[in-house]
Symmetry: C2
Subunit: 200 residues, 2 copies
DNA sequence: ACCTGAACACCGTTCAAGT
DNA sequence: ACCTGAACACCGTTCAAGT
């Protein structure tokens, strides 16, 4: 006789992925403060000590979430980027994608930008950040070649562009600035970043 | 006979302020995750339930810390602002003050920008944010009057300037961008925000 | 290799009772 | 008005033991 399929086997089989999925859901619906390993274990129908086999501690799970977040963000930006567009439209597209991600994943973004990751994963994390910033870097480099962006250290120029987007995303994510207003004015924001605050 | 002065009286006398001071210290030295009401009570030499008289829950203490942080930030910016300077130097001064605050108070800034404050205090918090942003707003308004800043909604232009600074501060605070490099290139960053990324 | 169950040392919050 | 002490319902983490 085969064992009853309705009853959970002793080994879960895919606990790590299940925990991460469940954690993402909790993060989205109830915020990072509501994340508890014991609760995730309960939801997975597993003992409270089982998560310890897959994540050495709670921070390891948070790091894994952050890493997955960067992967998703990087892919979102890469998909959104249209290299054929004129500079301003291209940057606006990236900005819209980034702000959209920030709005849809506010709690995750906060976790991604928390400064308390294990040193072991911080290089993995740095690589993931680089991939996310990469879309901006490419845009700047392309435009610089065409003379559409000021000469100078491309890393610094990318930083200015990315900081402008990230600062806006942070203001939106924490409610300092209303979402709709920010989205409605995004093209103007991008225009001001490209053309500067001084009159021409 | 008077009671022994070496022994703590039943009433602490200034528990609320003591808890806040102790919390600020823990925040600075060990980060937000290490904050515990019970530990703060222990350090104050008081029972673990005593903090409950002064803060209805832990979030209330975090909110009080955030509020005090904004007060300090606002004052730092107001002190740093020199309205007599030329626009670019004036903005650079504000930027240096803000980034300096971010570097010296990374954990506090993270707490200040967390999006989970009680609705009761969120209007107080909004007022404190406005006061902090106020220095940037005044600078923009002054410069607009002199025609040194593009015409248009001053709130939006302030947002672009403040987002540029805050994004940089966030990158520094979480280690994405090294502190010294950011400080060394701050004048150039400000220049790029004012003059734009497009060639003139 | 993966999971359980018990144990340990913590939490935040509440509430009657003390001063 | 302010604080204590006990109680309650949670945590994260560890570790022998089970499958």
């Amino acid at each position: 006789m085969a064992p009853m399929p309705t009853q959970r086997p002793y080994h879960h089989g895919d606990l790590r992925a299940t925990l991460l999925k469940s954690a993402e859901h909790t993060l989205r619906t109830r915020g990072a403060a509501a994340l508890s390993l014991r609760e995730l274990a309960r939801e997975a129908g597993v003992s409270h000590a089982a998560p310890g086999r897959h994540f050495k501690d709670k921070q390891a799970l948070l790091d894994a979430l952050a890493l997955a977040g960067y992967e998703r963000l990087a892919q979102t930006l890469e998909t959104a980027d249209e290299p054929g567009l004129a500079l301003e439209q291209r940057l606006a597209g990236l900005a819209r994608a980034y702000i959209g991600f920030a709005v849809d994943n506010a709690a995750l973004l906060e976790l991604m930008f928390a400064r308390k990751h294990d040193p072991d994963v911080s290089e993995q994390l740095a690589a993931a950040v680089d991939r996310s910033v990469g879309s901006f870097t490419r845009l700047i480099a392309d435009a610089q070649e065409r003379g559409e962006i000021v000469a100078g250290d491309p890393e610094r120029i990318t930083l200015v562009a990315a900081a402008g987007m990230h600062g806006l995303a942070a203001f939106i994510a924490n409610g300092t600035f209303p979402v709709e207003e920010a989205l409605a004015g995004l093209d103007e924001h991008v225009h001001l970043v490209l053309h500067g605050l001084r009159p021409r």
